[in-house]
C-alpha cells in the first residue's frame, strides 16, 4: 500500500490498496506524468515476491486523480479535502454494477461458488423437513410387540423401540427424519403402525408454499466485486445482473505460439477466472472477462490483444481527461 498526500489550496491524497489491485496496467498507461510503474506482476500474482503491483513516484505525481477515476478495481482512492472524488459531482462516475435480485433468487449458492473474488455470501434457512413429508406415521403402542423389525429396516433411522422398564417399551418416532416411505408399516408383523397420508386425506394435496420455501439472503459485497459477470452467467433464474466496466473483446495474435501449460501467466493473473488452458493453449471466456488487460501485460509472447470499444464511465467533464481516457478504448 502506498499513499501520497500534499497540502496546497486543497489537501489532496492518493492511496493505493494492493489487495484490490490486479496489475492490469490501466493506471500506468494513462498517468499523464508517467509516475506510476508496474511491479513484477506475474511473480507477485504467484506469491513469489512480496511487492506491490504498482509503484507511484511521489515526486512526479501531480495528484490529478485520473488514475483513481480509471481504475476499474477501486484500488486507487483519491481524496480532495478528505472527500473521495467518487462522491464529488464534478468527477466521472462508473456505471459498472452488479446486483442480485432477492425476489427471484432461489439461494442455490451457484454464484457464491463461482465468484472469483468471494464477493457473494448466501445465508439461507431451509424449510423444516417434516413440512415437506406428505404424511404422518403413528404407532399403536398396544399392538407393538417390541420385535424391532421397523427399527432395523428404517432407512432413515427415524423409528426406535426403546425399553422403558423390565418388560415395557415404547416406540419413538423422529418426525424430522421420517420420510413417510412406509417400509415400517409394510414390515410390521402386528400391524401396529398406522399411516396417515395428508394428500389422500385432503384429496388434492395443498401445498403450503411458505412452509416449503428456502428463505435467505444473498449478499454481494461491492468492495470486493469486480463486475466480472460470473454470477450473471451461472444464475439459473437470472437473478444476477452485471454491468461490466468495459465492452469489447480479447483476441490472440494468430502468429503467437502460446506455450499453454508451460507458461499459464495469463491464467495466474486473471482476476476473473476467465482463462483456462485448453489443449495446451490459452482460452479466454469473454462472458466473464472485464477487459482489464492484466493477461496482455504478462504474456511473454505479447500475443493477447485487448480491444475495448466502450468504457462505462460517465460524466467526464474535462476535455483533456476525455482525450486520455478514450485512449483506453481505442486499442492498447
Amino acid at each position: 500500500m502506498s499513499s501520497i498526500k500534499r497540502d496546497g489550496e486543497e489537501t489532496r491524497s492518493l492511496k493505493h490498496t494492493n489487495d484490490k489491485c490486479v496489475g492490469c496496467g490501466i493506471c500506468t498507461s494513462i498517468c499523464p506524468t508517467k509516475s506510476i510503474k508496474n511491479g513484477p506482476i506475474l511473480p507477485i500474482a504467484r506469491g513469489l515476491v512480496d511487492m506491490d503491483y504498482v509503484n507511484i513516484n511521489k515526486d512526479s505525481c501531480c495528484l490529478c486523480g485520473l488514475c483513481a477515476v480509471a481504475c476499474p478495481f477501486d484500488s486507487l482512492e483519491f481524496k480532495i479535502n478528505e472527500k473521495n472524488i467518487k462522491d464529488l459531482e464534478e468527477y466521472p462516475k462508473w456505471i459498472k454494477d452488479a446486483a442480485i435480485d432477492s425476489e427471484s433468487c432461489i439461494y442455490c449458492k451457484a454464484c457464491e461458488t463461482a465468484c472469483p473474488q468471494d464477493a457473494i455470501k448466501v445465508a439461507r434457512t431451509l424449510p423444516k423437513r417434516e413440512n415437506l413429508v406428505i404424511g404422518e406415521i403413528d404407532v399403536d403402542q398396544d399392538k407393538c410387540i417390541n420385535c424391532k423389525i421397523c427399527e432395523e429396516l428404517c432407512p432413515g433411522d427415524a423409528i426406535k423401540v426403546k425399553s422403558t422398564g423390565r418388560n415395557t417399551y415404547e416406540t419413538v418416532l423422529d418426525e424430522d427424519k421420517c420420510v413417510y416411505c412406509l417400509v415400517c408399516k409394510r414390515a410390521c408383523p402386528t400391524d401396529a403402525i398406522k399411516a396417515v397420508c395428508s394428500s389422500c386425506a385432503y384429496q388434492d394435496y395443498k401445498f403450503d408454499e411458505d412452509a416449503f420455501k428456502t428463505k435467505g439472503d444473498t449478499i454481494l459485497n461491492p468492495d470486493s466485486c469486480i463486475n466480472c459477470g460470473w454470477c450473471q452467467e451461472i444464475c439459473p433464474v437470472d437473478a444476477a445482473t452485471v454491468i461490466k466496466p468495459f465492452e469489447g473483446d480479447v483476441t490472440f495474435d494468430e502468429e503467437m505460439e502460446c506455450k499453454g501449460d508451460s507458461c499459464h501467466a495469463c491464467k495466474d493473473v486473471c482476476p476473473c477466472n476467465a482463462i483456462e488452458i485448453v489443449d495446451g493453449k490459452s482460452t479466454i471466456d469473454a462472458r466473464v472477462c472485464i477487459l482489464c488487460g492484466a493477461c496482455s501485460n504478462v504474456c511473454p509472447q505479447k500475443g493477447i490483444q485487448i480491444n475495448r470499444t466502450k468504457m462505462n464511465l460517465e460524466n467526464i467533464r474535462s476535455k483533456s481527461w476525455n482525450n486520455i481516457l478514450s485512449g483506453l478504448t481505442s486499442g492498447k
Binding site: 513484477p40 506475474l42 511473480p43 513469489l48 506455450k259 508451460s262 507458461c263 511473454p300 509472447q301
Partner: protein, 84 residues
C-alpha cells in the same frame, strides 16, 4: 520452402549437427550469484519446466527442459536472460 518455429529449429539443429543450441542464454556477469539477485533466484521459481536450476549458487540452464516460454526473460530483475 519450410517455415520452422524457433523451437523446431533448435531441435533439428541439435539432431543434425549434434550440437546443443541454447534456447535462451544467461549473461553470467549481469546475473551474478543467486544470493545477490533481487528476486532471490526468481527465474528458477518461475520456470515450471525445471529448465533453470541452482548449481553452487549460480543459475544454470538445462536446455532440454526449456519450452521457450520466455517467462524468465520477461521477469529477470537483472535483465540477464535473453534469446540467443
Amino acid at each position: 520452402m519450410f517455415i520452422y518455429t524457433y523451437r523446431e529449429l533448435v531441435i533439428i539443429t541439435n539432431l543434425v549437427l549434434e550440437v546443443k543450441i541454447m534456447p535462451v542464454s544467461i549473461d553470467t556477469e549481469k546475473c551474478g550469484k543467486i544470493q545477490n539477485c533481487p528476486g532471490e533466484g526468481l527465474c528458477i521459481k518461475l520456470c515450471e519446466k525445471g529448465a533453470l536450476v541452482e548449481e553452487s549458487g549460480d543459475v544454470v540452464l538445462v536446455p532440454e527442459n526449456c519450452d521457450d516460454c520466455d517467462i524468465c526473460i520477461q521477469n529477470c530483475p537483472n535483465q540477464a536472460i535473453s534469446k540467443v
